[in-house]
Amino acid sequence: MRELVGRVEALDPDAGAALRVITFFDQLMERRAGLENVVRGAAVLSGHPAVLIDTDRSLRIRVTPDGARTEQALPAPQAEWCRLTVDSHITVYLEHPGPAGPVEAMVLERAAMAARTILDRTRSRARPHPHHDTELVEVLLDASAPTEDRHHAAKSLGLSRSAPARVIAGFDGSLQVTAAVTEVLPDDLRAGVGPAVPLLELPQTVAAARAAARFTADGTPTDPGPQVVRAEDLGGLIMLAAAVDAGLGAGPDIAAVERTAAAAPWMLATLDTLAGGISLRTAAAALCVHHSTLHERMAQAERLLGWSLREQPGRLRLTVALMLRRLHRNRAADSVPSGT
């Protein structure tokens, strides 16, 4: 009457155990379970803590036989633990000295295979293959390519056919496409973000994303400013990019900013903070200086610039001047892919 009263326990190494392991993982896969489910299954069925490590994605999941996922720092894998590695980067460990018995061996095999299937399914989201992705992005952003090819490229990139997406234009000239709901951008990426649009309208937004990239800065004292700029946040200011390229009206104020910046190493960061429109007290705190120091700096900046920064019009003029300077400096960004 096991079927009326049973519960899932660690399996005895009898003849039926292997079959039950196969059944378990088959059921998980049939129902499109996730990685944690796979690791939990390995732990419960083997009776040992189980760990999944994917070195390509810096992924580590550990679950104990009572089903609990361990969130704290994981112990380093021990050399003698039972393990199985597939595709050279996916390893499942059982925290149990080897050699693996028949149940452990079967659990390792099925768990590693299941993990590989799930990781393959989500591969494009994790982006471990940048070269491959570049070609897919090219197809997706080519308005002249057949619609079906573009949909296929989008699917391979992990994008849903019906969900809006954005172009991410790197300052280095690279192009990526992400689902609009994904608000997470790669670390250390200096980029412009295009507006969220349906997949097939993405090509028309490349220019906006590239223009937004030109509003970005290094975020360093010599080049203060945002590393990521969204085209949607710029609004009408995005037209400044075209104005600079057309050589319209940038000269005197850019020259004034350059002249002022040359006066002191702290000047650009100070100007950038003042241009942010925040109060002097907050600006002083952001710059880690006493507010009387900031007053002195501002007076010096005003003399060099030739206009007041105490009222809104002067602050706005500074904001625009800094943007124009950035656009001027970043003019190569949308034409030279090799970038900086």
Binding site: M1, E3, L4, R7, F24, A43, V44, P65
Partner: protein, 333 residues
């Protein structure tokens, strides 16, 4: 389907999909075989139930944090004595709250030691005493032997509170499956007889309705671990010819109660993929309609008693936490 006379006048969809982990766990234990309790399997169920769910001495002691003892206490009028298992915290802070546990087993199986591990898990953080009653089983002992034995055990706790170190103001009745149905019935009985006051009732996927014809019951025919036929086997064992008829007492099948007012706070949970879904939800809803206090959890993709089958599953862990949280809030109030 041949007998569709009692099918609700709606198109019945397929069962909701089982949660992936639970489905995989069930496939391991069940081996894909259909599961139905018929009267001829009651003996085998008793044997297997004891093997799978009874807690041994070490499990009751929990490494020394609890002591336990059996007490033979007066049964219902004219009926045999009843044995209750009393588990007391080693460092009891008198008077301690009491969890009064009524075990599961479809009205036909189980002992006072059945399912005690989750009870002690619930009790230990609160230093609560756990009392678990060994009620007579159907079909040898039909209704009202079960509910009256359970009521007798509750009365004994209230009368011996001082000796037990029990706080009679804070007795929480807890049961799952058939135990949940009996816990609901004892709660009704205590209200109507003006008996011992209960502080709360925790009804885990309770067996409440002998009519056995709800939408979810029809939908889950032949699926899961407790289907319509198994349920009929349990209810028929309890009620005999009265099963499903017009004259079933609410103390046998609490879903039959017309008045759910004046009850202590209720915690009710159930899986979305089990036959008891509708009766559990309806019971909570009717408590609210009567102006009462109830908390209802419907676990998506959960089959009957899924937490006992696979306590390690993420959904089982969530169920356990929800019950613990409810008890914590109840005892803090």
């Amino acid at each position: 389907m041949t007998d569709t006379g009692s099918v609700p006048a709606r198109v019945t969809g397929p069962p909701p999909p089982f949660d992936a982990e639970l489905a995989a766990g069930l496939a391991v234990v069940q081996g894909g075989a259909p599961v139905t309790l018929t009267p001829d399997l009651i003996g085998a169920l008793r044997t297997g139930h004891v093997a799978a769910h009874e807690v041994g001495d070490d499990g009751l002691r929990r490494g020394g944090s609890y002591t336990f003892a059996d007490h033979v206490v007066p049964g219902p009028p004219g009926a045999p004595d009843v044995t209750v298992l009393v588990c007391t915290p080693a460092a009891v802070d008198v008077p301690a709250p009491v969890i009064y546990h009524i075990h599961d087993g479809g009205m036909v199986a189980g002992t006072r030691r059945s399912g005690m591990t989750p009870m002690l898990d619930l009790a230990e953080p609160h230093g609560a005493i756990v009392v678990s009653v060994e009620y007579r089983l159907a079909p040898e002992h039909p209704y009202p032997a079960q509910v009256e034995d359970c009521y007798a055990g509750l009365s004994w706790i209230a009368e011996h509170a001082d000796a037990l170190g029990a706080d009679t103001e804070r007795i929480v009745i807890v049961g799952v499956s058939a135990g949940g149905g009996l816990a609901a019935a004892v709660t009704l009985l205590a209200r109507d007889r003006e008996g011992p006051a209960l502080y709360g009732q925790l009804l885990g996927y309770p067996m409440l309705d002998d009519r056995n014809d709800s939408y979810s019951t029809i939908q889950m025919r032949g699926f899961g671990v407790w289907d319509q036929t198994s349920n009929e086997t349990g209810w028929r064992a309890l009620l005999g010819a009265a099963y499903g008829g017009a004259n079933v007492s609410p103390y046998a099948a609490p879903a039959r109660a017309t008045d759910l007012s004046g009850l202590p706070p209720a915690y009710i949970d159930v899986g979305s993929a089990e036959i008891f879904r509708d009766e559990a939800m309806a019971y909570a809803d009717r408590i609210w309609q009567a102006g009462g206090d109830a908390e209802l959890h419907v676990w998506p993709g959960g089959f009957h008693a899924f937490d006992a089958w696979m306590p390690q599953a993420a959904l089982s862990q969530a169920l356990t936490r929800a019950r613990q949280d409810w008890l914590r809030r109840l005892l803090a109030s």
